[in-house]
Symmetry: C2
Subunit: 220 residues, 2 copies
């Protein structure tokens, strides 16, 4: 009756691909997300549908049911809390914690999660700026924009990233861009959309659109 490691992963990945509106997720997208083949995905979808964790009709794509959504949010809560723990408590870099949290997120025990959250001070956001659902599954809201959508002259705070891969995060580290830093868009280059940005009032650098599309910011 309990849900396996693998099932939990499928739910989490369905949630992540599906996005906040709960759009339908295709078999191929899931095969990509789970690093398996489409045929394997179909098998698992049948199983999850049997458990009423997803809405599934052949060839139609899937969405999470109420129960599936709740479970997915639980996994995501655990993942993000562990990331906070790894960075804040153990001193890991934000580029090192994803894979470890990927394992820790499947440790069962609600008491563990609640005590961990409380030890960490019930954080609302993880080290990448992603919102952490509370025990009831409520996501803290935050309407961030991409840096690529910010106009010349605006001043913003860096609040999150869309790309969680190590190379991207390490690139930000090397550029001196971190969560919470001030950014002033001084100039946007016409042909490649790269931006000249003043960081924390001390240093300016060029940020390519490739990068700025993956940075979430908030009006200051």
């Amino acid at each position: 009756m309990a849900n396996s490691f693998t099932e939990e992963n499928y739910l989490k990945i369905i949630h992540n691909i599906s996005g906040p509106e709960g759009a339908e997720v295709s078999t191929n997208a899931l095969a990509e997300g789970t690093a398996t083949r489409a045929a394997s995905v179909t098998d698992m979808l049948k199983k999850l549908a049997e458990k009423e964790l997803i809405n599934y009709k052949k060839y139609q794509g899937v969405t999470l049911t109420e129960a599936g959504e709740k479970l997915a949010l639980k996994i995501i809560r655990k993942h993000r809390l562990w990331e906070v723990f790894l960075v804040e408590t153990l001193g890991f870099g934000w580029d090192e914690v994803h894979d470890i949290a990927e394992e820790l997120e499947h440790i069962p025990s609600d008491r563990l999660v609640d005590r961990l959250a409380s030890f960490l001070g019930n954080p609302q956001f993880d080290p990448h700026g992603d919102p952490i659902p509370d025990a009831k599954g409520n996501m803290p809201t935050a309407d961030y924009r991409k840096l690529s959508e910010v106009a010349e002259g605006e001043k913003v705070l860096m609040m999150g990233v869309l790309d969680h891969e190590t190379p991207f995060l390490q690139h930000l580290d090397r550029s001196g861009i971190m969560l919470g830093c001030r950014m002033e868009v001084q100039e946007i280059n016409d042909y490649d959309k790269s931006a000249l940005v003043l960081i924390d009032d001390v240093k300016t650098l060029f940020i390519s659109q490739e990068v700025s599309k993956n940075l979430l910011v908030q009006r200051l």
Copy 2:
């Protein structure tokens, strides 16, 4: 090539049953320890022997190889460090942490373990008084005796338990017996070997031999 959750459990259990001298472990003992049947154990032993983690000859019982021992100590180190974390950092009771640590011990990542250890102050003993191997696999030594072997009149410190089950630990909690408390054996009953013990100089209670055989103490 990597070792599964299940394989790790076998190694840990072989180590625990085998004891410090590395005695041979029988198939049946392992079946008991892993809560599986003897036939399943035989299958796994073949696999572990194939990987050269155990010395195995049919019908002869098993011992750990050098490599197997090293791996087992790694798992045990992780288990005990996580127990310290759960009790010291998150405030769990010593009777609640075994099952959770049983899961956490299989999270890979040497860096995680080392940082956890260092965050906890490189503890030498876990909340049940069991020694924690260091990163190289060296066990802190400590020659404890069972309370049941202590003579009348002796004063000792309570240093560990042999039974790690929740009911036993809860019984100790209710009796006010905890790690580090002083114990003075005032009288040993002749026919049932129960002991009248003064705890922390403030309260006396009877401890049955059943219990005193599971308490590890150190001369004060």
